[in-house]
C-alpha cells in the first residue's frame, strides 16, 4: 500500500512540472507594467446591431500582471480603464453610455479584468529575438459592479531586454493582443427601452492591445 502511495507521489512530482509551460530561457516572475513608452495600450469595443455598427475605444488602460516564466499557467494580473475614457465618435451617445442606465460611470468608474490563470498555452516561437505564445486568459471581468468569469484569447510577444529594446523602454518588453466579448445583459447593462438589440448590439466585442515593460 505504501509502495503504491509512494509511486503515485513520485509520479505526481514528476508530471506536475511537466505540465508547467516555461517562457523560453526567461526565469522567475516578471512583473509587467503597462507603459505608454512601449506602445499605446488600447481597448476597441465593437457594437453590431441591425440599425448600426459602430466602434469606439479607450486608450487609458492601466495595470500590471505577473508572468510566471517558470509556470506560465500561474500568471496573474489586473488591467482596468476608466468608463469615461471610452469614446465612440458621437458625444451624445458617449454621455448616454456613461449614464446610470448604461455603464453608470459615476458609481462604477472603471472596467476591470483580473487575470487568474493562463490555459491552453502554446509556444509559437522562442529564439534570441523573443518569445511568442498563444493562450486563454481566464479571469474575472467587472463591469458596472458585476463580476463574471471571462475567458479571453491571447497572443503574447515577449522580447528580452537588449540594446534595441532599450531605445524604446528599459526592461523586457511585452505586447499582448486579446479578444473577447461581453454580453451586456450578463452585466446588468439594460439601457433604455429596446435600444439593446436595435441600436446597440446585445454583446460587445472587445479587441485589446497591451504594451508593457518589466521595468517600473
Amino acid at each position: 500500500m505504501n509502495t503504491v502511495f509512494l509511486l503515485v507521489l513520485t509520479f505526481s512530482c514528476i508530471t506536475v512540472p511537466l505540465f508547467a509551460t516555461q517562457l523560453g530561457n526567461v526565469k522567475g516572475k516578471k512583473i509587467v507594467t503597462l507603459q505608454s513608452s512601449v506602445g499605446t495600450s488600447i481597448v476597441k469595443f465593437i457594437s453590431n446591431s441591425p440599425l448600426e455598427k459602430f466602434e469606439g475605444n479607450s486608450q487609458s488602460l492601466q495595470g500590471s500582471f505577473t508572468l510566471n516564466a517558470d509556470n506560465l499557467e500561474q500568471s496573474i494580473g489586473k488591467v482596468y480603464f476608466p468608463v469615461r475614457s471610452m469614446k465612440s465618435g458621437l458625444t451624445k451617445r458617449d454621455d448616454h453610455m456613461y449614464g446610470k442606465d448604461w455603464l453608470d460611470a459615476q458609481n462604477y468608474p472603471n472596467i476591470e479584468f483580473e487575470l487568474k490563470k493562463l490555459t491552453s498555452i502554446s509556444i509559437k516561437k522562442s529564439d534570441n529575438t523573443g518569445i511568442e505564445f498563444t493562450a486563454f486568459a481566464e479571469g474575472i471581468c467587472t463591469l458596472k459592479g458585476t463580476s463574471k468569469q471571462t475567458k479571453a484569447k491571447l497572443i503574447v510577444k515577449y522580447i528580452p531586454e537588449s540594446d534595441i529594446t532599450r531605445k524604446r523602454a528599459p526592461g523586457d518588453l511585452v505586447m499582448i493582443d486579446a479578444d473577447f466579448s461581453v454580453s451586456l445583459k450578463d452585466y446588468n447593462v439594460l439601457g433604455r427601452g429596446d435600444i439593446i438589440g436595435s441600436k446597440v448590439g446585445e454583446s460587445i466585442d472587445l479587441d485589446i492591445k497591451l504594451f508593457g515593460s518589466t521595468s517600473n
Binding site: 506602445g39 499605446t40 465618435g89 458621437l90 458625444t91 451617445r93 534595441i164 524604446r168 505586447m175
Partner: protein
C-alpha cells in the same frame, strides 16, 4: 406663382445638397460630431502593425440626429420639411392655375 416655383426649386436643391452630403459622409445612420483618424504604423520590434487612433472634431451628417432634441442635425428632418414645403407649393400653384382658368 413664381414665388412658389422658386420655393419648390429651393426645396428640391436643399434635399439634393443634403443627400449628397449624407452620401459623401458615408451613409451614416446617426449624425456624428467626431471622426476617428487611424494611422497604421509598422512596429519593427514586435513585428506587427500598430494602429494609432485619435478622435478629431468632424461633423458627419446622418440619416437620424445625434441628439433627439436637435432634430435638424439630420437628413431626415430637413428632408421632410422640404418635401412638405414642395407639396404645399405644388398645391398653391395648382390652385392658382385653376383660379385663372
Amino acid at each position: 406663382m413664381y414665388l412658389w416655383r422658386i420655393i419648390q426649386v429651393l426645396s428640391t436643391s436643399t434635399i439634393l445638397i443634403l443627400s449628397a452630403m449624407w452620401i459623401l459622409d458615408g451613409f451614416q445612420v446617426f449624425t456624428k460630431d467626431k471622426t476617428e483618424k487611424v494611422t497604421i504604423v509598422k512596429d519593427e520590434l514586435f513585428g506587427t502593425d500598430i494602429e494609432k487612433r485619435e478622435w478629431i472634431d468632424d461633423f458627419q451628417l446622418g440619416l437620424l440626429p445625434d441628439d433627439p432634441l436637435l432634430p435638424y442635425r439630420s437628413l431626415a428632418f430637413p428632408t421632410l420639411i422640404c418635401l412638405a414645403t414642395f407639396f404645399l407649393a405644388q398645391y398653391r400653384i395648382h390652385s392658382k392655375v385653376q383660379q385663372s382658368s
